[in-house]
Every structure is written in structure tokens, then in C-alpha cells.
């Protein structure tokens, strides 16, 4: 039976053999970056935008991957093609490029490209029920220490937040504030809130500039909803008309409860629903189903 393959430093290897040295700085220092796109019906979605962001992250951490963006794209597609036969019906892949600085400060870099089936079963129900978010004590790390706009593999800050949220409810997700108490993001997602028919999302100071986030900017424009990037606080989230999160694998999913407070009147809210349908149309996949 066939096995999924991954690209590791120039070679295609079965996932079970896809490994990196215990001395790799990615493993010992979190010294690297990554990015993850997904497919719809097996077709990569905005892969180029994801790769641009990958190279932005690389520039920030001063790692030379030894591959041009075009080569990185080509190999990513090769990995996808190699694993396509293993995709079942209604399945889709994440495609991830990860680059660490390698064994020494001077490199050469370690480059890994991998495919993983998106675990729809784990999160499908939240399209209906919405997530519960818990505002946690751990603060999102500030850009003068490590910029959240860089998708690095030093992510323990986000993991600690997630562990806090799970204390309240194993299915809850964490919502992090920055050091000034502004709402930022949680592990893997960007947050949007709708108030008086305006969508508001945190500016890029303390959050990743999500590709799905950018997609929502486009979709909102299509339905005449203004999107504003702005600082806001828990008070605003609790009193929003609708709240949802955006994330590569999930596109967008509603938030039904923040801490102890129910958000809005229905879950998902009408604009959330409209955006989801529009996105589904755009990629030819019924995202919720």
C-alpha cells in the first residue's frame, strides 16, 4: 500500500522516514519558519501568496533557504502530485514548507515540504455550533521580541495560551491579548468581529497577516461590507453582532461564546453565513459540508 511522501533536504522520502537531525537548529532552538497552504478539491489555493509570506518570514529571520520562490513552488507542487493518489473523496491537503537554519548559524538551511490530510472531522461541527474562545493570561509576544507577523517555529507562546483555554473546556480555543490589552489572535487563526455592518480585525502589529484573513477582505468587499483594521478590546468582542475566526484549513468558522458571554443572536450570524457561502462558491466546494 502506498505511503505519503515528504521532501526533506532534496529527497522525497516516506513520511515515516522523514526526519531531521536532533542537532538541527529547528529542533534545538525553534530557529526557522514555515507556511501552510491548503487545497480545495485537490487544487492548491493561493499557494503563491503563502510562499511570498514564507519568504517574508525568511527575510525577517535572515535564513537563506537555498531555493528560489519558484523552486520552492515547483517542489511543493511535486510533493502534492506525489501524494495526490492518496487523497480520498471529499478530502483535501495542507501543504507545508518548513525551513530551519540547519546545523549551524551559517546554515545550510534544512528544507522540508510535506502534505497532510486536513482533519475535517475534528472541526466540522463548529461551523454549526461555533467556537468558545477563552481570553487567556499569557500575552501574545510583542514585535520587538519576535514579530507575530513572521510565521516562525518558536511558537511555545501560542501553545501555552492554548493549554490555558483547555482548562475551561477541552474544545475551547485561546484568544490572546497583546501587552497593552488589545485583542490579537489565537494559535492558528485570525479574529473578526462585526459591529453595525462593519467588520473589524486587529491590525498587523500583533497578529499574523493571514492569507484567509486577506481572502475575507476580498469577500467582504464583494458583499459591500467594509473591513477595518483596528485595535479593539474584549469589551468590543463581547458586544459584537457576530464574531468569527479565519484559518487556512477552516476558511472561516463562527464564534458563539467568549468567556461566559454568548455572542450575537444566531450562530453562525447572517454575515458570517454569507461569507462562508461566497467562499464556497469561489472555490467550488461546500466548505461547511
Amino acid at each position: 500500500m502506498a505511503k505519503r511522501l515528504a521532501y526533506v533536504n532534496g529527497a522525497m522520502v516516506p513520511e515515516s522516514e522523514a526526519k531531521v537531525s536532533i542537532f538541527d537548529r529547528g529542533f534545538t532552538l525553534g530557529d526557522g519558519v514555515f507556511d501552510t497552504a491548503r487545497t480545495f478539491n485537490g487544487r492548491p489555493f493561493k499557494l503563491r501568496e503563502h510562499l511570498e509570506r514564507l519568504y517574508d518570514s525568511l527575510r525577517y529571520v535572515q535564513i537563506d533557504p537555498g531555493l528560489s520562490p519558484e523552486e520552492m513552488e515547483r517542489i511543493s507542487l511535486e510533493v502534492l502530485e506525489a501524494n495526490r493518489p492518496l487523497l480520498g473523496p471529499n478530502e483535501d491537503y495542507w501543504i507545508t514548507q518548513q525551513v530551519s537554519r540547519g546545523l549551524a548559524l551559517k546554515g545550510p538551511a534544512t528544507v522540508v515540504i510535506r502534505c497532510e490530510p486536513i482533519p475535517f472531522a475534528e472541526f466540522a461541527k463548529f461551523y454549526k455550533t461555533g467556537y468558545r474562545l477563552i481570553v487567556v493570561s499569557t500575552r501574545r509576544e510583542p514585535p520587538q521580541c519576535l514579530d507575530p507577523k513572521a510565521k516562525t517555529i518558536s511558537r511555545l507562546n501560542l501553545v501555552l495560551a492554548e493549554l490555558e483555554a483547555k482548562m475551561v473546556d477541552p474544545e475551547a480555543r485561546s484568544l490572546m491579548l497583546d501587552l497593552e490589552g488589545n485583542v490579537t489572535e489565537g494559535q492558528g487563526y485570525n479574529l473578526f468581529m462585526l459591529k453595525d455592518r462593519v467588520l473589524v480585525t486587529p491590525g498587523s502589529r500583533s497578529v499574523l497577516k493571514g492569507i484567509s484573513r486577506a481572502t475575507i477582505f476580498e469577500l467582504a468587499a464583494d458583499i459591500g461590507i467594509e473591513v477595518v483594521e483596528s485595535d479593539f478590546q474584549l469589551f468590543d468582542v463581547l458586544n459584537a453582532d457576530e464574531v468569527f475566526l479565519s484559518q487556512t484549513s477552516r476558511c472561516l468558522q463562527p464564534v458563539s461564546v467568549v468567556n461566559n458571554t454568548r455572542i450575537g443572536k444566531t450562530v453562525p450570524g447572517p454575515i458570517t453565513n454569507q461569507l462562508l457561502r461566497l467562499w464556497s462558491d469561489k472555490v467550488g466546494v461546500d466548505i461547511v459540508e
Copy 2:
């Protein structure tokens, strides 16, 4: 010819085969911790203190290593013994335990224990010349994001600082401030300054509680030098009588220049020298040689 061995998840393997999965959260998220002791004349130094700190770090990040401290110590010594035959004269080992959360949030953890020869040649000269430290723009990350007292593998914050210092001088090392502008530490070392025969070192708010740092507390007591843990700033460092750093591999080494300013009258300063000699006596090794 014999090869060094490492312990990886229960097995002793040659270093060239010592690898972790590309899906390991240590590699993808920096989701793990580690600690590193060293030997003097092949004998481990304060291994137990290092292991205690390892378990403190584990508790902070809520990872269960699946091994008791006693087991971790036993295996560490086994790894050391297995590699001892490869130690040359005047050589010594680092002994590192690294634990990541494994493949999933629930674990099980990945445990790696490894030995590496300390590269004395790379840093021996600094006992004589002293280091140049550069105060960098990147700030040490605050404890409400990720506590510097935990020796985690999400260390990119420290790497970015180091890259900044190397712009000025490839042999310079970074000195980081915290968000309030207090002096903290640099990658791999704690800082001490002597002023009017009192040693001052940053409190544990924004620095690792180094085992070598603790050793200096003991040695200073032996020679009647008071040690104070306190916030201080660049102004104080520039006007100190002596400045040195402590680090597992190097014990302690003088600092001769901070930014553009020469520190003290001689390098190393008299107290720095005295502490170094005392430490050498204690471990039966001439550290400088």
C-alpha cells in the same frame, strides 16, 4: 572507528542516525525544553541541579517526559559512559537532555539525550582578550509571554539578537535588554558586573537562573564578595569595574568592551581572575588552559 551515540526515545543510536520526525512538535512549534550540563575531566558537574531545572521547565510548559528525574539522570550517565571512550585528553563533554511534547498536544513526549565535545578552541582566547558585547535592539521576551527562566526550545528571540551583534563584529556577542530597558542576558550566558567590590547580576525576572551563575554566588561568598541580584542598566555596565559572563561551557569569561566602551583597567579584572582560579581549583581543571 567508534561513533558517538545519543539516546532518542528509548534507544541508543549513532549520532548520524539520531533524528526526530518532521512532525515532532519540537521541530514544528519549538514546543519543548532542554538543559545542558558539562563535565570536568570527564566528571559531570552539578548534573542534578541541571536536571532539577529541566523539570522546572517541564512543569512550566506542562510536558510530562515519561521519565522520573532519577531515570533521566541514569540515562544521562549511560549516554556519557557510552561516549566516554571517544573523549580525547583535555576534552570534556556537554550533556544535554531535550524533551519535546512529541507528535500531539497530548504527547507522548520525545526525549533526546546527547553528548557533544565542548569546542574549547573556539572560545579559549576570550579568557585573555575578553568579549565584546553589543547591546541590541531586539528585547528579551517578557515572562508574561514566555518566561526566560524556562529553558525552552523556542529560542528565536535570542538568535535574532545574536545576528544583530554579529553586524558589528563577528566575534561579538549580544547583550539584551528587557522591555523596560534593564540589562538581561545574551544567548547562552548570564552577566555579572563588579562595582566597588560588590557583584551585581540581573534578578531572575528576565534571565535564566544559570547553574554557573549559582556557582559564582558560591565562589564569591568564598572570597568575601557580596552578590546582589538587582535591575541595572547600560549606564551601570559601562561604568563597572569589571564585567564577566557565566556559561556552562566556559564557566566564566571576562568582557572587555561593551558597545564602544572599554570596561575596567585590565582584562580580566582581578576579581574575575580570582573567581576563575577558584573555580579551577574546585573542579581540578585549569579552566583557562
Copy 3:
């Protein structure tokens, strides 16, 4: 002779008997919220907007008032009607709803609704002379501690500021900065400044979203003046063309001096005047008179 009545937990009582238990958490912990609308010619102005904000505050502090917004509005109007006979000519009322958590963490809530004649005599002259604002040392409390957007009854922070301003001049009012030194608000008012025909007012991060503030957004639109919500600092206020404050009871009143510096060329400035006249027209009351 008739006496004013207030609503206290279900009953209409004369003000002199309108009391709450010394064990009420509103009195022992400042554990509650309130909101205050006013009448013009005896007609309530934007009562619904005030009630919406009241319920936003309630949601933030997780107090269930035991009354729907509609019931709260109905009773508010009943209180107004009950007290209307006591209104003299050229008099108007404040209408306040105050809700505390009651005697225990679980409630039930204490609900008070009251009317008070607006003391025009106390502040009428400032329409002509303008206020003196003093920038005080006490900082407006940050949203990660207690959000200024919630109109809570834990208001000692604002009172301390007011006491500081009174040291300089008993008629002066305090102007508070936030922790980063941005201009925020003072007890009971929002601040606006005009520069090059653009009105600027602090964003909602550190200030109450005043209903009068929102009214000025509308009036300014009517006369083609852009309003921008933005951070600004004392430097900007000192060099503004006009400065005024907005407040439920006063609508808007000019500021003539900030610390030691006279603002603008005339008091009130031309745009301030224009806005005041427009507001007067809108409510059919000459506000200044």
C-alpha cells in the same frame, strides 16, 4: 408639597427614602454599572442609545439586571413621568439607571432608576468662558484592568484625577492621559480638538463611547467637518485651533485653556459655535441660554 420619586428594586419611593443596603456590592465593591441620559424640554434624548450602552456595560461585567431593555426603558419613562410635575420652566432632567450585582456574587441585581434636575447654573458660564483643563498625573485605567468603555461605578480613578485638577483651580477639570501618554478623557466628558478643519477625538481604547460624542459625529457630518478617531498627545491639544468637550448634560462646551496655554483665537471657536447652534436647533432648545 410633592417630592421626587426614584425606582429602587421594583418600588417607587421618595428620594429621601431611596436607599440601598450597606451590604450591597454596589456600595462595598463598586460592583455595578450605570448610564445617564437627559431630557430637552422634558423629552428624553437618545434614551435608547443610552440603554444599549447600559446593556453593553452589563454584559462586560456579567451582571444580569433581571429586566429586559424594553422593561428598563418603560420604567425609566415612568420615573420621568412621575417626576415631570416637579420640573420648572427651562429645567431638564438627567435620567439614570444604575445596576449593581446586589448582595451576592450570584445576585439578584439591585436596580435603581432616578431623575435629577440638571444644574445648569453651575456650568452655564463655561459656554462663554470655556473650561480650563489640567493634565493630571493620575493615568486613565487601562482596558486590561477595567475597560473605560464600560460605564462602571468603580470610578475612583476619575475622582482622583479631578482632585488633582482642583489643586490648580477649583473650576478646572482634569484631562487624563493613558499609560502610553495619549490624551483620553476626564470625569464625565469626551474631548474633541479641531485642527485644519478636521475634528479629532480619542478612539475608544481608553475612553467612554459617549452618546454626546456620537451626536457630534452626526452634527459634524452635517456641516462637512470630518471627524477622525485617533491617538494624539498634549502637544496636539496645545496647538489645536479649537478644543471642546462633550457631555450629556452640557452637550458641548469650549475649552479655553489647557494647563497654562490658551487655545485658539476666540472662545468658543467658530466651529464649536456652529456645532452648538446646530445641536440647539436639533433639540429645539437654546443650549447656551
Copy 4:
């Protein structure tokens, strides 16, 4: 049947009639302060120290209570005597003085003195089981806004924290950090941790200077345990040997869990136990029983 009495502005009244005006600034603005002592076997404990702290708080908020400390003490004792007949066996009282600014900025102040039976049944079990503390997102408010050393009645900041902790466990209590991420206090208690036979407690920057806290300083001195006031962080608490809290009603009680982490080896820890026994001896009451 007899009823408890309270002192309200000069009069002794039954508690059910002990009320303040809905216009009192204590109720409308949280504009006041209070302090609470307790009895052991019906005898007040350190009442004078509590009153001194009350007058420190009054000075900070610039309220003149209209009574000298001696008068305040005398009336407090009268209230206690008036209610003593209602004390059952093994019962004790809280004695609280609360002063608000009254009806106007200029006063006169409202003074309330009351007795309440301490609800031992609610918290007795925690001497055995220890508390679970949850580190919450809401930060303790900073001294440049409203100093935590003043025991004011603007306490909503603390209530919001408590509501957060209850999300995890209705019996959990909140542990708050300050804006810099240092451990502070929770509603009603001070925190102590023991590490290597040294007791550490936050300095007074962001916490109330508890009278029980001061008592522990004395008791610790009696058994040769050093007490240090110092900043520390969650990392330190998780790795402490023992953690306990001090509080007027409870004296001191162990903490068994912080977030998800068990603290120490036994609950209560040996030093915690020793301090409790010593305190019991001192006041002639078996506190745990």
C-alpha cells in the same frame, strides 16, 4: 429575637435598616475606602493596625471621615459589643469600617461600621484540600491609576478576575498578574510561596499590605524562616515547595493547584502547617478546626 446592629452615620440601626442613599458617592462612584478586622474568640485582632491602614487609605483618596482614629476605634468596639450576644460558640466576627465621600465632592463623609459572622463553613475544607488558583487575563490595576495599597471600594477589577477563575472551577480563586506579568494577589488575599526554606511574597507595589501578611512576617521570624518581598512570576509559583494565601478571615490557607499544576508534595506543606499552628497558639484558637 435580637438582631445585629450596624453604625451608619452616627446611629446604631438594625442591619435590615442599615442603608445609604442611592446618591451616595460610595454607591454611584465607588468613591470610598474600607477596612476589615476580625475577632478570635470574640476578641478583636490587630484592630489598631487595621484602623491605621484605613486612615492611610483615607489620606490617599483625600476623604476626611469626620472621626479621629480613636473615635473610629471606640465606635467599632461599641458595634462589636452590641452584637456580641448574637455570637454563637466557635463563631467570630468580621468588623468593617467603610467610609465614602458622601453626597458631594466636599462631603461630609458617610461612615458605616458593621459586624458580620465569619462564614467558616464556606472555607474550612480548604485548610485540608488547599485552593486551586487560576491565573487570569485581567491584570491588577497599576498604582498610577489606583493604588492597590489603598483598600478602596472601586473593586470591580478584582471582581472581573474572580469571574474568570470561576469559569475553570466554581471553587477556584483568581490570581492576578500586574501589567508587567508579575504575580500580585487575588480578591481578598495575599500570596506567599516557599522555596528552599525562604518565604517570598510580592512587594507592596501591586498588592494590599495585608495585616495577615504582616502577621506571617512575624510568625515566620519566630520559626527562623526568612521572608523576602520580591517580584516573581508564574514560573516561580509552579516550582515552589509550598504556596499559601493569607486573608483576614482565614489567617492562612494552603494552595494545592495553580492552573493545572500541583504544588509541592503534601497539602498543606510542612511550613504552612507550622505557621498555622503557631498562629493558632498565638490567638488561642485552633484555626483549622
Copy 5:
């Protein structure tokens, strides 16, 4: 041979005799402000805007210069005329007004107006090569201490930053962050970055509101490029399409390297070039030549 003249407290004197008392508060306390315009082909450029800013600075520091803006302008032009004969071909002047508080807190102020030839030779090459900017450790001082919008003569904060940058490269210039890690400015210049055909520059919170900066707003509008004032961070600068600085003497000059990272594809970038040409046209001088 003729000598340049300066205005000092009412008198025109040769520069070599243009002096202030060693007791002048400008010299002993940095207690004063200044502003500097330049000429193109000997004609002053936006002198009035510079003088307006001078008076804004004066108002902020509460210094009365003893001269109206009109008098200040007249004398400035007189100084220019007096020195015009000394201007060579292709030369231009800086015109600086500096006002200190004088010998005492109450003044009278010291007023100095001077002309200096712009040292084109020193910086001409950077139109071609672009500058290297170094992000330094010293943070730009916050507005609640001393507002960067006021052009004061307490400028040591900027000098310290510049000394840091020179450690890396004697021709590099410093780029300062504010206390929150946002990009601000360096000594004497404002920063712009272009991303996706939008120009972004820091808002006025932590930077001088440069007159050249305002000129770029106008020029950008002429070529249909939107300009946005916004917080941004090093990550954004490293990934910008073009970066340039604006400065009175240089108008605008490209930035080619930030820390270790090359910016954009060509130096100067196409929009930078277009703006430079437009400015040249506007003032009738080929700025680059």
C-alpha cells in the same frame, strides 16, 4: 573677505562672534527649541510652515520668544539676504531659528537665527547608493516625557542612537523604535516605505511632523500614490518594496539596506525616483545633481 553673519538677540554678528552665555539655559539644560528650513536656488522653501512648527514647539515648552511669527520671518529673511552674497553656484542655505529660555526660568528668551551652506558633497552619493539604516537599541523618547513632535534642543536621545549605528558602519544612520517597538525616525529624518503601491510612514505619535514629510504627502497625491500614517515594525520595513527617508536638506533619499537586509530590487526604487524628479521639477533644481 566677507564673513557669514548671524542674528543673536537683536544683533547681526559675524559667525565667529556669534555666541551665547555659558549660563544660557539652552546650553546648560537643553531648554529651547529650533527649526530649520532650506533654500532652493537661494529661495526659501516653505519657510512659513517651518515657522509655524517653531511656534508650535515654543507653545509646547512654554517659551515666549519675544517676537511675533511675522517678525521672526522678517529677520530670517534679513539674515538670508545678508549672507546671500556668500552663496556659490549650486549652493544653498539652511536657515535656522533657535530659541532658548534665556538665563532664567522667566526668560527673556535667547533668539538666534543663522544660515549654513548645505554640505551637498557629504550626502550626494546616497541618492545613488542609498543609505544603510541600523535599528538601534536606544528607544525614541515617549511623548509623555518629551514629545518628539516638538523640535527641542534636548536631543541627546537621538545622538546616542546615531553613535550606535556608527558602530556597524560609519556611514550608516540610526533607525529608532519607540517603547512599543514601532518604527519611528532617526536623527534628522522621517521614514517612508512603499508596499503594494501604498506609501506608509509612522504617525505623529513618536516622530517629528517633518515639512519634507508633508511635501511627500503632496507629491504622492500628484502621482496617485496613497499615503497612510500608521504604526509598523521592522518586519514591514525589511519586506517593503522601497524605503526612503525625507529630510529638509536632502528632500528624499533612498534606503538600500536595513540591518543586513537589502531592500527592494533597485536603488532608488521607481517610485522613489519619480518623487525625486517631481520634487526637482517643483523647485526648479535637479536635487540629485
Copy 6:
């Protein structure tokens, strides 16, 4: 009649001719440092300590004065000797060294040494009445911008604070907080408070390490009063037993009022008095007289 002389860049000149160029960076950029000692009965007091601090400041700002400390001391004494004949009975001098970077970033430095009679008449009464301190809105600038431990001539931050205090009372002095709300210092003085027979003064993070401050450490030791360097806040000052300030010219003077609150029971307090008498004895001058 004889005139006072000052040293300016190598020459002794009458004060009226003691001037620096309008291009001197000390005048244009506040780019320099200074220090000021005083005499008692015409004898310099701790001149060497002042010079050490001057050289600490010079090292911090990287200015080479071109004179060794010994030369600086010798010339200072020569300036004193030159001016001694002009000292009246009961008069004493300030001796100030001021060094600016000169005309260019590379220097050479400008060195000024001057004598000024201490204006005892201006402040003598405050030994009896005590000062009123006003806590101002302007915050003391943080060490990561410009370290308050360096006695620089970029002092506008302190001047702005002083202007604020004078709004309340022309004889009041400013008391500044740091960005975190801790008490620091005011223009020209350090603050001490006495509580329970312990003297507390801010640590060196945000204040100048005054020589008079150090003298008080010595005097307090002589009378068995412990001195602690620690952060504290306004709350502590308002509730202190005694408060006084230390300053080169005044030695120490009591504080009687802070904002609106009287401090302590008598002015000066008993310990303040004792320290003053001790200092007088030590220098052989009745300081108060």
C-alpha cells in the same frame, strides 16, 4: 572692581565674556554633560566624587573631554581659587564642570568650568517651612531613552515637570513618576521618606545617584537608621512619617506637603532634623542658618 572668572576651553575669562559658539552641540543638541559640587566655608565638598560621576556621564555619552580627571580637578580648584576673593562671609560657591561634544560629532569637546554663589536667600526658609511637592503628569524619561543616572544637558524633561508644578504654587517643586508610576525625583533633587524608622529612597533606575544622597546614606548609618533603595509610590509618600529632599546646594530640606496632603507631624521631622545637624557638624557649617 573684580569680576568672577570662568574657564572656557583653556582660558580664564570674565563671566560676562564666557560664551560658547551658537554652533556648539551643547547649545544646538543638548549634547553634553555636567556636574556641580559646592563648598562649605569655601572648601569644596566631595569634589572628587562629583568628578567621578562626571566621567561616568562622559563615558555613557561617549564624549572625550580631552582632560584627565586629575586635570579637571586641578582646573576646578584653580577656578575656585580665582573667584575666592569675591566670596562674602557666609557665602559659598557651586563649582560646575560642563562638557559638550563641541562643534562636530568627533569633537573636540567644549569644556567649561564655572563658580556661582549659592543663592541661600532663595531657599533658606524651606528648612523651616518645608517644600510643597506636586506630582506632575510629565514622566521622568526612561533609561532606554536617556538614562537619568547620566547628568546630561538634555534636561527639558525636567523643566517641563517644573513648569507644571508652578501652576499650583510658584514655590512648589515637581515630583516626577517613572513610566510605571514609581516615584523618582524632581529637577535637582533626590527624595527620601522615613517610615517606621527606615529611610527609603528610589533605586538608581530612574534617578540621578546624587552625591548628597550618598552623604545621607553615610549620615543615616551614623545614627542607626537603615536606608533602603526601593520602588515606592505616591501612596507611600502620603503616608510617610517624614519626607525630605537632598540636593547639592541645600544638603537636605524637609517636605511638608505633597499635592494636598500634609506629611508627618512636625516640619522638619525629628530624623530630618537630626540628619541636618549631623551634616552641619560634619562640614562645620550650620546649614540651616
